[in-house]
Subunit: 326 residues, 2 copies
C-alpha cells in the first residue's frame, strides 16, 4: 500500500490547529516492534525543536501513562499481527484521550488497526524491501512530521536515501554473507554473545539481543551501549567472551570506535560490522546515520539465519511463544 | 551539606522568566550514575505536564545533542568523583548553550563542580544514608521543580517519605540479610544471572546488572524489563538459568507479577525481592512507587557484598577500571 505521508501529516496537523498544535509523540510497542520504532524516535529527539519524542514499552505506557499525554500528542504503535494485547490497549487509550492514534500493522483485519485513526499497513510488502517495511514507515512519518511542523533541511536528501535504500541493503546483504557464515561457524557453541552499538543503531543491538539471540537461539545476551561499556560492563571482557559490535558511520562512530579499540586490545572473539563497508555512507552524508539501522537490520537477518543453520536451531522454533499461556 | 531545594528551584525559575520559562530537563550521566538519575526522570515523565524529561548516557548527549536543548532547559549531571570526562563535557556544553547546569558531585574540588551553576554536593554524607545521597538529591530536586512549576498533589506525602526513608531502608537491609546470604551461596558459581524489574525500579535492575554483576563480579547479565520479557527474552528460560526479580509495589507490580508467574512455572532458580516485604508501602501510598528504587538500592548493596564474600571476589577488584587506559 502506498502511503501518502504528506497528506496524513497535513490532516493530523490541521485537526489540532485549534487545540495548540501537535507537540509530543510517543512511539509505543513491545520487543522487536519497539526497536522498530526507535530510529524514528531517535531522529526526532535529535532533529526537532518543537515535537518532543519518547519511546515506551507498551505495558508501561498503559500503566504509568505520562501526565503530559494529551490531545496534542501522537501515539505510534506497531505490531505485525496487529493483535499484541499491550499495543492494542495503548491504541485504545490513545483514542480515549483524544490523541492521534497511528497504528502500523501487518494485518488489516486486526484489533490494532481497528483502534487507529490512521493505519499504516505493510503486510503485503515483500519481506526484504526495507524501504516500505515497518521501521522505514515510522521513520518516514517522523521525517514528514518534522518537515511540515518546522522544516527539515535534509528532507530531500532523506527521500533520496529512502529511494536507494533497498538497493544499498541488497548489496550489503550479499557483502555480509561470508562474514555471517564465518561468524556462525565460530559462534555456534557460544553460550553468551554480547551485542554493542550506539546512536540510532542501538535499537538494532536491542533487537539482535532480544529477538535473534535470546528469542530464536536461546543464547544469553545483553545489548550494551558503546558509551556505557566503560562504566561497568567492560569488566566482563576477556579472550573467551564474544562481542558483536555495530560500527556506525555517523556521529556515533567515535563511541563505537572507542569500545572496539578496547576490545581489540583485551578481548579476542570480536566481530565488527562496519556501516561504511555496508555502503551506508552512500545514503547521504547528513541522513545516513538515521538510515543505518535499516541497513544493519537487513545485514543482521543474514547473520541470524546463518547462525540458525550452523546451530541446527531454526529461527522458527519457540518453546513458550505461541505454545503456552503467559 | 543541607540543600535548600526550594530556593534553588525558585532562582532557576526566576532566571528564565523572560525567556519563556523552564520546560525541559535532561538527566545525563554514565553507568550507575545514569541509573541514579533515572528515578527522577521517571517521576517527571509520569507526573509533569509542563516539564518534559529525558535521560541520556553522557557521550551520546554530547555527540547527538537534541535540537530542542536550549536556554530553557536544565541539565542534571552526576559523577561521584566529579571527573568523569563524558559528564564534564556535558556540563561544559550546558553552560555554553546557556542552559541551567546542575551538577551532583561527591568531590567539591572537581571539574564537574567547576561547570555547575548549582552544585549539589553529597561527598560528606554517610554512605548508607540514602535520603541525602545522589539518587534522593536528583529526585528531591525533581519533586521541588514540579511543585513550583505546576503543583504536586502529593508533595507533603513525598517529603514525609524522604523523612522516614533511612529508617525504612535500614530495616529493609536487616530484613534482606538472610535472603542475601542464601542468594550468594546458591549463585556463587553461576556464570549468568538475569535481573528484572519495571517502572522506576528498572533503573535498579540496570545498576545491578551493570555495576554489581558485570563490573564487580564479572558475571554475565542483562537488565530485562518485565514487560519486554514476553517479547523475546523469556525464551532463554529453563530450570538452569537464574533470574533476580525486583517486585514493585506501585503501578508496575502487575508487570512484575506476570513475569514472576511465568518464571515460577517454567524456571527454577528464581529470586524475588518484594518491595512490600521491604516496607516500601510505608513510604506513602501515592509516592512509594517513586521512592522504591532507593530501598532496592539499599537492599541490593547487601546482596552485592554477600555475593562477593561467597565468591571470594571483592567488590573492589577491577581488571581494567582504574588500571589501564581506555
Amino acid at each position: 500500500m502506498k502511503i501518502n505521508y504528506g497528506e496524513v501529516v497535513k490532516k493530523i496537523l490541521d485537526s489540532r490547529k485549534k487545540t495548540g498544535g501537535i507537540n509530543k509523540i510517543y512511539f509505543v510497542a513491545c520487543g522487536g516492534s519497539k526497536s522498530g520504532l526507535t530510529p524514528a524516535n531517535f531522529f526526532l529527539t535529535c532533529e526537532s525543536k518543537k515535537i518532543q519524542s519518547w519511546v515506551y514499552t507498551a505495558k508501561e505506557f498503559e500503566l504509568c501513562t505520562p501526565k503530559a499525554f494529551d490531545e496534542n500528542s501522537i501515539v505510534v504503535t506497531l505490531s505485525f499481527s496487529g493483535n499484541t494485547p499491550e499495543a492494542v490497549e495503548v491504541a485504545k487509550l490513545t483514542q480515549k484521550v483524544g490523541a492521534v492514534s497511528i497504528t502500523l500493522v501487518g494485518k488489516e483485519d486486526s484489533l490494532l488497526a481497528a483502534n487507529g485513526d490512521y493505519i499504516f499497513y505493510y503486510g503485503d510488502e515483500p519481506k526484504y524491501k526495507y524501504s516500505v517495511g515497518s521501521i522505514a514507515i515510522a521513520l518516514r512519518f517522523a521525517v514528514e512530521l518534522l518537515n511540515q511542523v518546522e522544516g527539515y533541511k535534509y528532507y530531500d536528501e532523506m527521500q533520496n536515501g529512502f529511494n536507494i535504500l533497498d538497493d544499498v541493503i541488497e548489496k550489503a546483504r550479499k557483502y555480509a554473507l561470508p562474514g555471517a557464515l564465518s561468524f556462525a561457524e565460530n559462534h555456534k557453541t557460544e553460550p553468551v554473545i554480547y551485542v554493542m552499538a550506539s546512536g540510532a543503531n542501538y535499537s538494532v543491538a536491542y533487537t539482535t539481543t532480544t529477538c535473534i539471540l535470546m528469542e530464536c537461539q536461546w543464547i544469553h545476551s545483553n545489548p550494551i551501549h558503546c558509551a556505557e561499556f566503560f562504566h561497568g560492563p567492560f569488566e566482563v571482557t576477556d579472550k573467551e567472551v564474544p562481542f558483536l559490535i555495530l560500527l556506525g558511520t555517523g556521529r556515533e562512530r567515535t563511541m563505537d570506535e572507542r569500545a572496539i579499540n578496547f576490545l581489540q586490545k583485551y578481548g579476542k572473539k570480536i566481530t565488527i560490522l562496519d556501516a561504511k563497508e555496508f555502503g551506508v555512507d552512500i545514503l547521504g552524508a547528513n541522513v545516513c546515520e538515521y538510515l543505518s539501522p535499516l541497513v544493519f537490520t537487513g545485514v543482521l537477518s543474514i547473520y541470524s539465519h546463518k547462525l540458525a543453520d550452523a546451530r541446527n536451531h531454526s529461527v522458527d522454533v519457540r518453546r513458550y511463544m505461541w505454545h503456552v499461556e503467559y
